[in-house]
């Protein structure tokens, strides 16, 4: 620790909101001064309040602007967070070229593993099991490739993520039209229309392994996480460790992850994602060459501060310091609180955080991305923060999460709080009988957005006693309520099918 204080290190976080604040905490604990970047429209964001210095940049997605900002304040380290430029080798390389330490993997590793096809080929080469898959040559014999892979299958964008440019195909006849629209979407989203076919596992679980590499061929794993509860590939509930998983599968996943880390001489924190089917088979999906949103659950069960470990490594890369990983203990769950309405196809619900009161208590950890009074727009990701709990077992962790959610007060805009709370008491969630489509296929119909009559009657009583008197003022907006129509969301009835699966 002492050697760190000699020359004041300065770290710029090329990210915003919650993850920027997480990295700032780690820096302040290590005596490192912090620099925030702020893009137009994000002035109110929480990370801007907390940094020691702030530099305006044109966009969080502009590598040159961010490197220039870092140089202008004499930053010695740059942490990319997740999303944005975190997996763009051009950014990592530019940071290192400017003589600053990039807190993450090398640019070349991102290129090697960023492309899903390259990553699959690498995995197969070192014996890591992958799903039956095939490249798609436009004009090539799509049907033959598809038959090799077998139906049902997924058409996937090689450069994509988050469900973009993805189409499910059950029958050979639908191949061509699906491939055409998927390629168009992928081209629009990532500037790269290349696709590949991948066998579809019916009720898969999404299990990922947290790894940390010393950049010289050495590495450790920090056990696995389960992120099966997703909606359109957007995770909202993550756990460590994965319950209901045989030791054989668990050890197989860890070994496969380490093989990859050592093969590519991976540096810093990373995550290797797998699909696990219900016959104990597991298949490599992709590697995220960055710190994940859900890293706190791994920190809770291992006691390892992943951000400290990343920063320490970046400060003296020669010293191949790998974290000492003790046996995992207990169970941890994280939920992501979003400004969105799950009962309206997860429609964004922007607004102002009029009242904010995070829960406090034993083994309740809050990663806040907002402050009271902050206006949340729609130009940036709508995650408001994360609630993370730990308990000695999964059953208690779910109860602790329920109590933490019951004590969370975010008022002034819509959030998915009630949806997350409903998950805590769902029998399938408790029994682990879920898969990556369960939220959309099963839970969507169970979730009741409208409060019970008794609750509404109580609110109605409050209203009569003048609480929230503001209610009766004349309506400012143009909408004068007319006939009762069963259809009618502000953006219409946007069910799941609003977005192609």
């Amino acid at each position: 620790m002492a050697e760190m204080k000699s020359k004041k290190e300065k770290l710029l976080v090329a990210n915003r909101s919650e993850i920027a604040c997480r990295v700032f905490q780690a820096c302040r604990e290590l005596g490192i001064s912090t620099v925030a970047v702020v893009a137009p429209g994000d002035e109110q964001a929480r990370h801007v309040t907390y940094a020691d210095e702030v530099v305006e940049v044109s966009s969080y997605l502009d590598p040159a602007a961010i490197v220039a900002a870092a140089r202008s304040v004499g930053a010695t380290l740059v942490h990319p967070g997740y999303g944005f430029l975190s997996e763009r080798s051009v950014f990592a390389n530019a940071v290192e070229a400017a003589g600053m330490a990039f807190v993450g993997p090398r640019g070349e590793t991102m290129d090697l593993l960023g492309g899903k096809i390259a990553a699959k080929e690498l995995a197969e080469r070192i014996g890591v099991p992958t799903l039956p898959w095939a490249k798609v040559q436009l004009g090539g014999d799509l049907k033959a490739a598809a038959l090799k892979v077998g139906f049902p299958l997924l058409l996937k964008a090689a450069a994509g993520g988050g469900g973009k440019g993805m189409r499910r195909v059950d029958r050979a006849e639908d191949l061509d039209s699906a491939a055409e629209s998927a390629a168009a979407e992928a081209l629009a989203a990532f500037g790269d229309g290349t696709l590949f076919l991948e066998r579809l596992v019916d009720h898969p679980r999404h299990i990922e392994v947290q790894v940390f590499g010393d950049g010289m061929g050495g590495g450790v794993h920090l056990f696995e996480r389960e992120c099966t509860l997703q909606r359109r590939h957007q995770k909202i509930w993550e756990e460590a460790r994965a319950e209901y998983l045989s030791d054989a599968v668990r050890n197989g996943l860890h070994a496969a992850a380490l093989k990859l880390v050592c093969e590519v001489k991976y540096r810093s924190a990373g995550t290797i994602e797998f699909l696990v089917d219900d016959q104990g088979g597991f298949y490599f999906l992709e590697m995220n060459t960055r710190l994940q949103v859900e890293h706190p659950v791994t920190e809770c069960v291992t006691g390892v501060d992943l951000v400290h470990t990343q920063i320490r490594q970046a400060l003296n890369p020669k010293k191949a310091a790998l974290p000492e990983v003790p046996a995992a203990r207990g169970h941890s769950i994280e939920v992501r609180i979003y400004a969105e309405d799950p009962a309206q196809g997860f429609l964004p619900t922007p607004g102002t955080v009029e009242r904010l009161r995070w829960p406090t208590g034993a083994w309740i950890r809050v990663e806040s991305g907002i402050e009271e009074g902050q206006t949340i727009g729609t130009s940036f990701d709508s995650m408001l923060g994360k609630l993370v709990v730990w308990a000695e077992n999964r059953e208690l962790a779910i109860e602790r999460l329920r109590v933490a959610l019951e004590e969370t007060v975010i008022l002034g805009l819509g959030t998915n709080q009630a949806y997350l709370l409903a998950l805590c008491s769902d029998p399938d969630v408790k029994a682990g009988k879920v898969h990556t489509h369960w939220l959309e296929k099963t839970f969507a119909s169970r979730y009741q957005a409208v409060p019970s009559d008794a609750d509404l009657a109580l609110w109605s009583a409050l209203r009569k006693q003048g609480l929230g008197a503001a209610l009766d003022q004349a309506p400012a907006s143009s909408r004068v309520g007319g006939a009762v129509s069963s259809q009618a969301s502000p953006w219409q009835q946007i069910g799941a099918e609003g977005l192609k699966p």
């Binding site: 309405d341 009962a343 309206q344 196809g345 429609l347 964004p348 922007p350 607004g351 009029e354 009242r355 009161r357 130009s379 709508s382 329920r402 969370t408 007060v409 975010i410 008022l411 002034g412 805009l413 709080q417 009630a418 709370l421 957005a449 409208v450 409060p451 009559d453 609750d455 509404l456 009657a457 109580l458 609110w459 109605s460 009583a461 409050l462 209203r463 009569k464 006693q465 609480l467 929230g468 503001a470 209610l471 309506p475 400012a476 143009s478 909408r479 309520g481 007319g482 006939a483 009762v484 129509s485 069963s486 259809q487 009618a488 969301s489 502000p490 953006w491 219409q492 009835q493 609003g498």
Partner: protein, 163 residues
């Protein structure tokens, strides 16, 4: 349920506000908590803790950790033709971009028919006809930036009563 208490719009669903339940005493406590206490006939007391925020029509209500945010619809004034179809859903609620217009002006569409696709927050949404009718006029073009309050199109309701 009587219409007198007005209606709410919760997650796009219209709900009639039920009769206020009786016998609650409300206590405002530090931390902005409201405690509603009711002594029941059997001598037990019911105690509910909630946080409420409201401004003009919009309400945020947290009861037992369940957040519901909704809009209170003003009860239709006596003079208004109560049957007028509600076309508030054809107005943009927040910033976004028009991706694709799916129907042409003049076309007849049933209720629920996809009209256009918009993109907000890196996600795509389909706007459907809130009621059957004819596309009178488009007010937006593909690729156009949207701000809250911009009306997409005029949709003339079909003559026969809404089902």
């Amino acid at each position: 349920m009587s219409q007198s208490n007005g209606t709410l719009k919760i997650s796009g669903q219209r709900v009639t506000i039920p009769e206020p339940s009786q016998g609650w005493e409300i206590e405002c406590r530090p931390g902005g908590w409201l405690i509603a206490i009711r002594k029941n006939a059997d001598g037990t007391t019911e105690r509910r803790r909630l946080a409420v925020w409201s401004k003009r029509q919009s309400v945020g209500l947290i009861l037992g950790g369940r957040l519901s945010s909704f809009e209170v619809q003003k009860t239709a004034r006596a003079g208004m033709a109560s049957g007028a179809p509600d076309d508030s859903d054809l107005v943009a609620q927040f910033p976004g971009k028009v991706r694709k217009l799916l129907v042409k002006a003049g076309e007849e569409v049933p209720a629920g028919q996809p009209l256009l696709q918009v993109e907000a927050m890196k996600m795509e949404f389909t706007i459907r006809a809130p009621f059957a009718g004819k596309i009178a006029k488009w007010h937006v073009t593909e690729g156009q930036q949207l701000m809250p309050g911009i009306r997409f199109l005029d949709l003339e309701a079909k003559t026969e009563k809404e089902s």
